[in-house]
């Protein structure tokens, strides 16, 4: 029996299309795999087994009938549980949305379905995407498939783990401060945060609107490219999308001018540092020019990031008052304000922490001191990076300064936890595209490198990632 679950998206859609195997067989294998793996990994909040099988059979029939099918025909995708899918429970790993059934599809999800992709399940995350480890979930932590004692990164940890553990080929995550790239690095898969405005956010449950993008996961650069080609482009339901519908190609070798971000590399663990330098050498051997650069304006980026993110979050999450949807809580005997307090105590500790911080930084008299200052830092950073991208096509560095750590290790120290986002938040503050691509292992644990480019230069990011992929030949899935 062919192990279909190991195939990448191009092979699956070709196989299904040419009727070498049926979508149903493939989905069936995945469901068996999920059943076997999930007790160890806990990547999924909801597995949509019945829906996936029905969709697979439907697709098989359409192919038998000679109908046209989309570019991702038959490919199983998982979707982070903060992205709405019509009629499928979307919980954000939170008690306050425990029973929530969205009445509509997120644009990105819908585009995947239109292209023939099959939803296999909704993946685990830090509650409302607030976290870097997928430990802050009311459904329990997701475990790193490479070492189930360790975190998979976050907040899209379920998405990255589901792809690494061969529970699906592709996944959609969301990246507000590194939430796609961090777990991609920790789980040794490819994860892209597109330029702000390239992918519609319609249907993505907002954490910090001005920072976040939906981004794809795959085991290869070419898989990520295939998803991006489907989800990217203008959406009339999202004012912040750019009027463009680009197509990208995978696997091109180019002679790029690459800047190696000294601040990021210097602060990384030595094993990671070594891998970053090796990646640079590999790129040079393929004709690229690499040199060390200093970004400079990095001192305040984390403070700026957490100020903006928490401010926006405090307002975005105000709607969860349990009056229109949510969880079982009778309003009998409460007056409004006390009901709000009761309902909103359903949030987890990290979410409460961020709501309180965000409420504080926006409060009267502090706006200018915090939120406005943070926006100024953002402009300065944007200006400095724009200048750098006049000299370099792309910036290279580690995705994360550390390798995956033990579950529970940092959970009680929020500041320490926030510090590990230092390399990823830059792309969110500037809106620029960034990818994490597997580049090696340090002490047996996955290490990804991050490539960042100027606004809408996704092609450059994909090209550089694909060159590292070719040169490194990294294993993408662990034994489980």
């Amino acid at each position: 029996l062919q192990q279909l679950y190991k195939l990448d998206s191009a092979a699956i859609s070709a196989g299904v299309r040419n009727r070498e195997f049926s979508a149903e067989e493939y989905v069936q294998q995945l469901l068996e795999r999920i059943e076997k793996i999930e007790p160890k990994v806990n990547a999924f909040i909801t597995v949509t087994a019945d829906g996936a099988l029905a969709k697979a059979r439907q697709l098989d029939k359409r192919i038998r009938d000679g109908e046209e099918v989309g570019s991702l025909a038959g490919v199983a995708v998982s979707i982070k549980d903060n992205i709405c899918v019509k009629g499928v429970r979307t919980t954000c790993a939170s008690k306050v949305l425990d029973k929530y059934l969205p009445p509509y599809d997120a644009t990105a999800a819908n585009r995947l379905f239109e292209a023939g992709a099959i939803l296999i399940g909704k993946t685990n995350l830090d509650e409302f995407a607030m976290g870097s480890t997928t430990e802050f979930s009311n459904k329990g932590p997701t475990r790193n498939p490479w070492d189930i004692g360790r975190v998979p990164g976050g907040s899209s940890g379920g998405s990255a783990a589901s792809v690494a553990a061969l529970e699906c080929a592709l996944s959609l995550g969301s990246d507000t401060g590194g939430s796609v790239r961090c777990p991609a690095s920790f789980c040794s898969v490819v994860g892209l945060k597109p330029t702000y405005g390239l992918v519609s956010r319609y249907g993505l449950v907002s954490y910090a609107n001005s920072l976040e993008q939906i981004g794809p996961f795959g085991r290869t650069v070419s898989d990520v490219t295939a998803v991006l080609n489907v989800i990217a482009g203008h959406d009339q339901r999202d004012h912040t999308t750019a009027v463009t519908s680009p197509q990208y190609v995978a696997g091109r070798d180019r002679q790029l001018r690459i800047g190696l971000v000294k601040e990021f590399t210097d602060d990384a663990e030595s094993g990671i540092k070594k891998i970053v330098y090796q990646s640079a050498e590999k790129l040079e051997s393929m004709g690229c020019k690499c040199e060390e650069v200093k970004v400079g304006a990095l001192d305040h980026v984390l403070a700026s990031y957490y100020t903006i993110a928490t401010a926006e979050a405090s307002s975005n999450l105000a709607r969860y008052d349990n009056m229109r949807y949510g969880f079982e809580l009778s309003p009998e005997g409460y007056e409004w304000n006390s009901y709000y307090s009761k309902a909103r105590s359903g949030f987890g500790e990290e979410v409460k922490r961020r709501i309180i911080v965000g409420t504080y930084v926006l409060s009267s008299g502090y706006y200018g001191k915090y939120y406005l200052k943070a926006q100024q830092v953002r402009s300065v950073l944007q200006r400095d990076l724009k200048a750098l991208f006049k000299k370099y096509d792309a910036l290279l560095g580690p995705t994360m300064p550390i390798v995956p750590f033990k579950i529970g290790e940092k959970v009680d120290d929020p500041l320490k936890m926030y510090l590990i986002d230092i390399d990823t938040v830059v792309a969110n503050l500037t809106g620029m595209p960034a990818i994490s691509v597997p580049a090696g292992f340090a002490g047996g644990l996955p290490v990804g490198v991050q490539i960042m480019a100027d606004d809408f230069q996704e092609q450059t990011v994909l090209d550089a990632a694909s060159m590292i992929e070719k040169a490194s030949d990294i294993r993408r899935s662990p034994e489980l």
Binding site: I83, C84, T90, C92, L97, Y100, P102, P103, Y104, A106, R201, Y202, G203, L204, V205, S206, A208, N209, S210, Q236, R237, D238, H239, T240, A311, E312, S314, S315, A318, R319, D321, M323, R324, Y325, W336, N337, Y340, T359, L362, S363, S364, Y367, Y371, L372
Partner: protein
Amino acid sequence: METKIGLEIHCQLTGVMTKLFCACHCDYRGRSPNSNVCPTCCGLPGTLPLLNKKSVEFAAMISIALGCKIPLEIAFYRKNYFYPDLPKNFQLTQYNAYGITSIGTDGNVRYDEGKSAGIRRVQLEEDPGRLVYESGSIETSTYSLIDYNRAGVSLVEIVTEPDFVEPKDVRVFLDKVTSILEHLGVCDTGLEGAVRCDANVSVGGGNRVEIKNVSSFADVEKALRYEITRQKTMVSKEIEVKAETRHWDDARKLTKESRTKEEEQDYRYFPEPDVPRVHLGSSFISRVKESMPELPDARKERFVAGHGLSSQVAQVLIDRKEMADFFESALKVYDSPAEIANWIVNDLMGLIDERQRQERSIFSSLKIRPPHIAELAKLVDDGSVNRSTAKQILSRITESGEMPSEVAKQMKASKIDDVDELATVIDSVFKSEPNAVEDARRNPNAVNFIFGKVMKATSGRADPKAALDLITKKLKE
């Protein structure tokens, strides 16, 4: 003691088709609760606001008409507070700070003769949903229901400077603003809740009191009178006036302390990230200006200069767009401006009671239409009816909708005093009742029988004296 009054007027843009940030219909009235909603205006997770460009255009028109400056760029801000009628627990509105302003600022409106009021700002925002109290009032209800049909409807808030002294002036100003809104076609001011007004008032430099829950403009005047008297009385007794929000009690005609807890709200304004700044630009502003219909001031000027109306008569006409339109439609039928204006302003308005006069739309409950007034004026002009008869006709057709000429004919016919017409009837009665005629010739008392027959034949409309004269004369022939 110096009185200072400022106003906050909320006007729904009922002239746009859809809500401010989604495609739901802006006409929510009469729909069953929570049927005029979508994921966006319900604030469901993951939804994004999509700005209605028409609303921006309408808000710009209002700003221009109120003499405001319009910035080249506008932004929307979140006003964060918890209240059950707000689906997102924040309201998308505008904010004047950090180098960005609302769509209109620093305006000025002249009203009455030589008076004017400053407009602090005009801003575009979403209307919240509606709370329906089980027993009709917040104080006696054990539960309340929420209807989000209204949530997200475009609302323009007009904030004046505290430039008013007299409650009467407020009334005149509000009439003017309402007429402007009507002329712009942005708001059907006759709809319940389409235009709302809160007022704030202070006397002798004391604390400012805000008056809310005033349902009609006439009541704004009453509420202000009450509140000014209340504050002045307190001051004269050396009691400090509290800075507070008071509610207008429509039944008892007084303002009362609101029972809801007053606390200083911190709205934590910040720019809405999902609606990028809107660049208006000078071409937008000039385009809007060009597309603007005639405003009340210009129309009044035209009525005075073009139609020779007095300033007072013209003012009454333009205070309601409906009335000015009525006047102009009537002119198209019969071009006698002074006569027609006079009939509308003096006579027609005189027939309307105070309660009706407070409705924004007077004509919707009346059957009279422009052609009626036109014809009436013509009948008077050509001497067909005299003025006092015409007034009787007007009183009748206002309710019935009959044409004046028909009514005039009936009224005239009700006394057939035309000799020839009466003679014809009498002739036929003489022919059909030969025996009675013989009797009458012998016995003068029997004449009554013939007279009765004549009255019957004319359905009682024959002029009795004329008929009797003719019958007596004919009997002697």
